[in-house]
Point group: C2
Chain length 250, copies 2
Amino acid sequence: MLFDGWAADVQAAAHVFVRALEPAVEVSGVDGHHLERVRRVRAGERVTASDGAGNWRLYEVSEAANARIALVAVRAVMHEPVLTPPLAVAFALTKREKPEVVVQKLTELGVDRILPVVGSRSVVQWDERKSAAALARWDRVAREAAMQCRRSRLPTIADVVPLSALAGTSGLIVADRGASESPTGVPLVGPDGWVVLVGPEGGFSPEELIGLDEAGPVARLAVGPHVLRAETAAIAAASVLAAQRTVGDA
Amino acid sequence: MLFDGWAADVQAAAHVFVRALEPAVEVSGVDGHHLERVRRVRAGERVTASDGAGNWRLYEVSEAANARIALVAVRAVMHEPVLTPPLAVAFALTKREKPEVVVQKLTELGVDRILPVVGSRSVVQWDERKSAAALARWDRVAREAAMQCRRSRLPTIADVVPLSALAGTSGLIVADRGASESPTGVPLVGPDGWVVLVGPEGGFSPEELIGLDEAGPVARLAVGPHVLRAETAAIAAASVLAAQRTVGDA
């Protein structure tokens, strides 16, 4: 099987992130509360823990009480294979859309890097404080989604940058309804893999598209002929590319 | 361009469903309220109208007042091309998931038929009254999504049936994380096109999978190695297949 030996997801009652995959670890705080109080994980059950950097390990719960669980390793540390090419999704922030849903779904789909951008048609204003709060929130959403989907390598979420900063990125693919290229063709892979850019529902401004095209070759990707919500477009583009990835070397 | 000449979406202020594409039509009721009061469509603006069966027409607003708009045709009736192969998505209803989000996204992605099913692990109980209310709600969600994404052929939403009823369906594809087949391979197309089945988050029961496999050839489709939420799996599988469709003859 293609993805055999990934995470002990079927046997394990839960997947949790810890600082280091020591032979014995304790989970307290928010995660301890979630596992012991909400999920009601009990002594004797199995749980996988991960360091968020691709390593994971199978543990047995030795104690569960007072919103804490103690874990004892039952196997050696395992390594979640890297998928290739690397996949980044850049999406334009808008007032109407909910980036949290996008971050959650992209994490489940295995996207490596999430790049929030603001376009010239974005109504959203980003100051530094607001940006820091949003990034902290999205990191939390990604972490929770990774626990739920048994992912051991957390996606990185980049600082908010203007869309024009992506001009010249190699491997750039624009999710575009009017795409004329074969929808099943595999786009060019840059040194950083695929970087797919999804615009706001109103679309990119003509100047933005010209700016991107002038800076270097840009592939296009269409998922159906209809006007997708920005949120749907991000999930759809990530799905199409994720389904074309294979297990890499690292 | 692949999808050129679909709907006058860029120029038109809105897309609305009407009974027949007469030279002059009036939109009142919920849609009239939405267009005149919420979207504030005004006389002189252009709107596309559709009969929901694939036909659409460009109109000009001649009057807009009191939650009603009057439309006068400015072009002949157009026909939205059919995409091939036909695409159906069957998804298992669960207590936790929100079928509304799935119906909305599948409509945007151009899915032709939506088949809600209950599996043996579904916690949901369906009686006839509840089922009728849910179907009416999902039809409304699909219609609103079609207006938003400028789609002129409404998807059909089938009655809720047990998952076992799908056994033997030709063109059946099971969205399965453990899929061993090439993720980019194009699955077999049955006489009714592709019918992709997405299970609940807990997965199918072994008996259900055996039942499906025994009844005939079943393709598998994986989108990434992680455990997708049922909602994400439905959208991801539909996206992968939607991106492989082309314009048909009809």
